[in-house]
C-alpha cells in the first residue's frame, strides 16, 4: 500500500486524542483521517485485507498475544459459510492494574468502531458487538453516541459507503464478572447464560455465538486495524523496536512519580517505561518488583528492567506482557499482602466450573491470609507451591487459574525471605512501615 505518500504517524493509536473534550466525536475523528482505513479496506477484497493483517504481524492486545491474522483465518469463508457471522470487541477490561482500554473507549470510540467494521468486512461478518464493562459509564455513553453518528452517516447499516457491504453493531454492557474477558465465557454471557468458559474445540471461529462463526478480540487490537490498512503492513512492522510489530498503550501504576498511560513502540524496555515515562519511584520508595502486564503475570525484578516489552522476550524471563500495564511493588508494601489481594480477587472471580480454580484459589487465599496475619507455618509455603502446581495450565478448564497463580508462584521464589520472615516473627514485618495512611505525598 501507498505508505510513502502519506504522512505516517509514529503513534497511530493516540493520534486522535487532543485536549478538546469533544475529540471523540465523528467530525473531529474524521478531521484527523478517521475512517480512511475503512475506505481503503473497501477498495480491496476481504481476503486481500486479511493478507495485509497477516503480513503486519499484529498480535492480540488482550494479553495472550495470539497473531490476529492467523486467528481470523480459521473463520469459514465463501458462499457456503454459515451466517450470520459475528465480530466482537472485548471491552470488558477488568484485569487488576489494567486501565488502557478505558482510554481508548472514552477518547477514541470511532477508532474501535472503524476497526470493527473493517474486521466485519474482512471476514464477511454480519453483526458486531461491543461487550463493554458495565462500570465504564462515560465510555458506554460515548460508544452509544458514536454508533448513532455512524448509522446517520452511512458508516453502519445497509450498503456502507456505497460498497454493498452491510454491517450492524450492538453494544452489550456487562453485569460484571472478570471471567467474561475469556472469549468463550463472553460468548456465553452474550447468550444470556452464566459466563462459564466453553470447551474447545470447537473454536469460536467455527462455532461461537449462537453456534455461528465468531471472532472476539481486544479493544486495542481492533484499534490497530484502520492504521494497518491506511499506512500498510510494512510501516506497521517498522514501528516496533524489537521483534513485535506496532505500538502499544503501556501503563504504570503504584508508587511512581507520574503514573499513567503512554503509546510507545512495541519492544520498549520495561525500565525505560518506569523511569522515563512514569518518572521513577516516588521519593522515599524503592522498587522491589513489578508485574509487567497486569495482575495475572509473574513478578519480575530490577535485574529484568532491560527486558523489552515484547511478547517473546518477556516470555524468556518467565513472565508475560499481558495487557502491558505494569504494577509496581515498592519496598514499603508487603509482598504477601499484594499477592493475597490478587489471589482473593481471582478466587472471587472464579466461575466455579473446575476444581483447581473453585477450591484451589480460595485455599491459597486462606493460607496467604494466615501468613499475613502472623499465624503461618513453614508447611503453608509448601502447600502454596503445591496449589500453584494444581492450577497450572493443563489442569484447569481455562486460563483464569493458571494466570491467578502467576504472581503467587513468582513471589514464592523472589520474595521467599518475606514469606519466611512472616512465619518466623509470627507477624507482618511491613505492618509498621506501610505508608497507607493517605496518598498525601503525591
Amino acid at each position: 500500500m501507498n505508505s510513502k505518500q502519506k504522512n505516517c504517524p509514529k503513534k497511530p493509536l493516540t493520534r486522535f486524542i487532543t485536549d478538546d473534550d469533544n475529540c471523540w466525536q465523528l467530525n473531529q475523528y474524521k478531521s484527523f483521517g478517521g475512517y480512511e482505513g475503512l475506505q481503503q479496506a473497501l477498495t480491496l477484497s476481504g481476503s486481500a485485507v486479511l493478507d495485509e493483517i497477516k503480513e503486519s504481524n499484529l498480535r492480540g492486545r488482550g494479553g495472550a498475544g495470539f497473531p490476529t491474522g492467523l486467528k481470523w483465518s480459521f473463520v469459514p469463508q465463501g458462499d457456503d459459510a454459515p451466517h450470520p457471522k459475528y465480530m466482537i470487541v472485548n471491552a470488558d477490561e477488568m484485569e487488576p492494574g489494567a486501565f488502557k482500554d478505558r482510554l481508548l473507549l472514552e477518547k477514541t470510540p470511532h477508532q474501535i468502531i472503524e476497526g470493527l467494521i473493517i474486521g466485519g468486512y474482512t471476514l464477511d461478518a454480519d453483526i458486531g458487538y461491543i461487550f463493554i464493562r458495565g462500570d465504564y459509564y462515560t465510555a458506554i455513553e460515548r460508544i452509544e453516541l458514536a454508533l448513532k453518528e455512524c448509522y446517520n452517516n452511512n458508516l453502519l447499516g445497509r450498503n456502507i459507503l456505497g460498497s454493498g457491504f452491510n454491517f450492524e453493531i450492538h453494544i452489550h454492557t456487562s453485569a460484571g464478572r472478570y471471567i467474561c474477558g475469556e472469549e468463550t465465557a463472553l460468548i456465553n454471557s452474550l447468550e444470556g447464560k452464566r459466563a462459564n468458559p466453553r470447551a474447545k474445540p470447537p473454536f469460536p471461529q467455527v462455532a461461537g455465538l449462537w453456534g455461528k462463526p465468531t471472532i472476539v478480540n481486544n479493544v486495542e487490537t481492533f484499534c490497530n486495524l484502520p492504521h494497518i490498512l491506511n499506512f500498510g503492513a510494512t510501516w506497521f512492522k517498522s514501528l516496533g523496536r524489537f521483534k513485535d510489530a506496532g505500538t502499544k498503550i503501556f501503563g504504570v501504576s503504584g508508587r511512581v512519580k507520574t503514573p499513567g498511560l503512554w503509546e510507545l513502540p512495541m519492544g520498549t524496555p520495561i525500565g525505560e517505561i518506569i523511569e522515563n515515562y512514569a518518572g521513577g519511584m516516588c521519593d522515599g520508595y524503592k522498587l522491589k518488583g513489578y508485574l509487567p502486564g497486569g495482575g495475572s503475570t509473574d513478578f519480575l525484578l530490577e535485574k529484568h528492567l532491560d527486558t523489552p516489552m515484547d511478547y517473546d522476550e518477556i516470555g524468556k524471563q518467565r513472565s508475560r506482557m499481558g495487557t502491558g500495564t505494569i504494577i509496581v511493588l515498592d519496598d514499603k508494601y508487603c509482598p504477601v499482602a499484594m499477592v493475597l489481594n490478587l489471589v482473593k480477587f481471582f478466587a472471587q472471580e472464579s466461575c466455579g466450573w473446575c476444581t483447581p480454580c473453585r477450591d484451589g484459589l480460595p485455599w491459597a487465599a486462606v493460607l496467604l491470609e494466615k501468613i499475613e496475619q502472623g499465624k503461618g507455618e513453614l508447611a503453608d509455603i509448601q502447600q502454596l507451591e503445591d496449589l500453584c502446581k494444581f492450577a497450572a495450565p493443563g489442569n484447569t478448564f481455562c486460563a483464569l487459574a493458571p494466570g491467578a497463580v502467576e504472581p503467587l508462584q513468582s513471589a514464592l521464589v523472589f520474595f521467599r525471605v518475606d514469606f519466611e520472615q512472616h512465619i518466623e516473627q509470627q507477624s507482618c514485618p511491613y505492618c509498621n512501615s506501610d505508608n497507607l495512611e493517605d496518598g498525601d505525598d503525591k
Partner: protein
C-alpha cells in the same frame, strides 16, 4: 451477595409500562430471547434498585424463559443486586493498584464513617457499601464509583465532602 433464609416465592410483580417498553425493545433487537436476559434484569434493577425473587419469577413469565435459567444468571453477576440496596451504592475499588496507594485504608475509613461493613446498608437506607474489583483507573488510585461517577485520587480528608455531596444529590 449471599442471601439468608430465603424462601421460594410465588409472589409476582407487575412491571411498569416503561419497564415493559424497554424489555420489548430488547426483544425486537435480539432474535434469541435468552440473549436479552441480562439486559432485562438490568432494566428491572434500574427501576427498582434491586432484583427480588418476585421480579425474577415475573420476568421468567414475561419472557417465557425457565425460572432456573434467569435465577442462575441473576446470581452469577456482580452488578445484579439480589438484596435491597441504599439510595446510593458506594463501590470503592479493592484492586491491587488502589491498595498499593492506600485503598484499603480508604475503605476502612468509609466503613467507619458510615458504620457499616462491606455489603451492608446504612440504617437510614442512604448508602450501601460494595467494593468492586479493579475499576480500571489505576493511575488515579485510590478510586471509587458512586452514582455513576468516578471519584479519583481519594484521600481520607476528602471523604466527608464526597459523602455530603452524594447525600445532597439524593435529596434532590
Amino acid at each position: 451477595m449471599t442471601l439468608q433464609n430465603q424462601i421460594p416465592t410465588n409472589e409476582i410483580v407487575e412491571f411498569s409500562d416503561v419497564e415493559k417498553a424497554q424489555i420489548d425493545k430488547l426483544l425486537l433487537e435480539n432474535p434469541h430471547i435468552s440473549g436479552v436476559s441480562i439486559d432485562a434484569l438490568k432494566i428491572i434493577q434500574n427501576h427498582r434498585s434491586w432484583v427480588s425473587d418476585a421480579c425474577i419469577l415475573s420476568l421468567s413469565q414475561y419472557l417465557d424463559l425457565p425460572l432456573s435459567d434467569l435465577e442462575s444468571v441473576a446470581t452469577f453477576y456482580n452488578l445484579i443486586f439480589r438484596q435491597p440496596v441504599g439510595k446510593v451504592v458506594l463501590h470503592p475499588c479493592d484492586g491491587i493498584s488502589c491498595d498499593l496507594m492506600g485503598g484499603e485504608h480508604i475503605r476502612k475509613c468509609l466503613s467507619n464513617k458510615l458504620e457499616i461493613n462491606n455489603g451492608q446498608t446504612t440504617k437510614d437506607n442512604q448508602f450501601t457499601l460494595i467494593s468492586l474489583p479493579c475499576l480500571g483507573a489505576c493511575d488515579k488510585a485510590p478510586v471509587m464509583i458512586a452514582n455513576e461517577t468516578l471519584f479519583e485520587l481519594i484521600q481520607e480528608k476528602n471523604l466527608p465532602l464526597i459523602i455530603n455531596n452524594l447525600k445532597e444529590a439524593i435529596s434532590k
